[in-house]
Symmetry: C2
């Protein structure tokens, strides 16, 4: 039977099986019923310790020569394999490529006695919108299996690399897997016809969120500490909240979106933004600081040329160190909060959560103003209707 | 007869007459047939000299105490009045308000022995999208006569001020008139039902361009050296080219668009940008440098927080001074040019003009690359069709 005569269901099942087949036999779980101790079946104590570090600890342990990139990469590949078997959170697995890359990084370190960049040996997972050479980008579309974006010509496919992929590699990162997302994106859950559904590792009756849902689920299970996602209306923030990790959605055009797959190219009205997910807050600072240090605007004219503003962070840290607190009363921020747009209001538990944030921000010495819906973007509209 | 029973034609004629009535009798032209020596009927030699200076000369002459703000303002008001009588280039005239303001500036100068800002006493004309307190913003709509944006409630109308208006006043500018534009904007000529059509002062068989057409015509007749317009697809650049002056369309969100009237609020796909028109190149640098020195991003969160980058200009100037040329071969720029998108190409004279620019840029030591239509914004689209 010729390939193009097969049904979408068969094609999806084949892809699913091919991905799973990239998990070595020794890393297969004996049972996949939900259980919080799966990792004990596969990981030894060293690997558990390695995958329990956060991103900055991983980077500094490798920099100090206490761990090799191969040790770290192997441990995270194993744990990501376990996470995928429980939770269907991976679209692509390329552990071989990752270990090969880690060996090269270790050789660099042995020769130069220093890391090649701030992310030397740090495993980074990518949402399946980012192109990695030789690897599919399906975004969950059956029609894109075996290609990037459905381009199947052998000379054109698998040759693309997103700008941010290039930047991560230049900073020393190790890429090893791409994570699941909902078909067509712009959805707060993570389902598609290739991998099915990614559930919440804390409670598999619940969703892991979306659209960067695979990232959230993978990190909650310790299979990654640093992931790259995208966000228009919550696509890194929702999975971070649902899975108990951290995220940042930078302002659009702060980080390059060049050569990244998406559903609606040219839709610039509500712009999608490359964002980051991390198991700790300082990991988000590390990745933003590192990516901006490459001056991405020199390669992508859509990126606004603003470096990471160390001074703002340093001012804050030095004050905090000086005062022994995080209070910033000598240079407070002014923040606005919109409790309701006058038409709808959040459920009471959400309002309560927002109130906790407001209280914490005020406690830290900042000002919080209640915004009305006539402020800023709505003011022109109101000119017409008032 | 009640006002709201009058026809649109009568309302427009009344508005037209009311604007013209703000030109003092002594400044009325005896004939308005097209002629290049109209200004000699009204202006004395001093006023001709004042209005022949460019923006930076005006600023430095006032700063040196050689001219007062009142002298400069009066001269430009007179010459703008002449331009309007020839060319219908003004929507609003507020010379009284301007002279009052100039008197205050002179008092400040007398007291402090220094200017209040880099634009102290410099007359600035505004396209009729920018709100000035107590003045109409009609944008050429008959329905908006007597109001800003059609808001006619006496407590709400005429109280709005665009952020950039506030910034200009803070820098010391004198505002004295608002200039014509095509009804509904986004048009390369300048016609509306209130003032009719603004023609090209160099040849009244031709258009002055648009949509910031009134600015172009006014400056070509010496009635202003510095104007504020807006641009999506050429709206400051077309009038600058048609009238033989200079313009800059900054990158969107570099300058505040807050509280500026427009036709399609919320249309962010092709974003309109506040831009500047000037009779000389250094005037454009002065206005951009001055506006950015006010840190507009502190008041408008949509403005990208990038200051005027003196270093780039200073590097260039010091090299030019050192070498005695404008050659920049030690730090050349790389520029791209798209000769055709593969579907249409410009008329031969336009292509010849572009070739002149390419030759000049290369002669100055920069690199010019021929772009193909598969570069940058089109690359994703081509992924799908190739």
């Amino acid at each position: 039977m010729r390939l193009n005569q097969r049904s979408w269901g068969e094609l999806a099942a084949d892809k699913r099986a091919a991905t799973l087949a990239k998990v070595p036999e020794a890393w297969r779980l004996r049972t996949t019923q939900h259980h919080s101790t799966f990792h004990l079946q596969i990981l030894d104590q060293d690997e558990i310790a390695i995958t329990s570090q956060n991103t900055t600890q991983t980077a500094s342990t490798i920099e100090a020569g206490h761990l090799t990139a191969v040790q770290v990469t192997t441990a995270f590949c194993k744990r990501a394999a376990i996470a995928h078997q429980i939770n269907n959170c991976l679209h692509e697995i390329f552990f071989d490529q990752a270990v090969e890359r880690a060996k090269q990084l270790d050789a660099y370190f042995a020769q130069h006695k220093k890391p090649c960049g701030p992310l030397h040996g740090v495993p980074v997972s990518l949402k399946d919108q980012f192109h990695v050479k030789d690897i599919d980008t399906t975004m969950g579309y059956v029609g894109w299996i075996g290609s990037n974006l459905g381009i199947k010509h052998p000379e054109q496919s698998h040759s693309v690399e997103s700008q941010i992929t290039t930047e991560l590699l230049g900073l020393g990162a190790v890429l090893y897997c791409k994570t699941s997302l909902p078909q067509t994106l712009l959805f707060g859950e993570t389902k598609n016809n290739i991998i099915g559904e990614t559930l919440n590792p804390h409670n598999q009756n619940l969703s892991c969120g979306g659209s960067s849902g695979g990232e959230g689920a993978l990190q909650a299970l310790g299979g990654s500490t640093l992931g790259v996602g995208t966000d228009i209306g919550g696509s890194v923030r929702i999975p971070a909240a649902f899975n108990g990790i951290f995220s940042i959605k930078p302002t659009p055009e702060r980080v390059s979106y060049r050569e990244v797959a998406n559903t609606n190219p040219g839709q610039n009205t509500y712009r999608s933004t490359v964002g980051f997910l991390n198991t700790s807050l300082d990991g988000l600072e590390l990745i933003l600081r590192s990516i901006l240090s490459t001056e991405p605007w020199l390669r992508d004219p859509a990126v606004v040329p603003i470096p990471f503003r160390n001074q703002i962070v340093d001012d804050f840290l030095s004050r905090a160190e000086r005062d022994g607190t995080a209070k910033t009363t000598d240079k407070p921020l002014k923040l606005g909060i919109l409790w309701t747009d006058g038409q709808v209001r959040p459920h009471p538990p959400v309002t309560r959560g927002l109130q906790m944030v407001v209280d914490a921000v005020k406690e830290a010495g900042h000002k919080v103003l209640r915004l009305s819906c006539s402020v800023y973007s709505l003011d022109v509209a109101l000119h017409y209707i008032r």
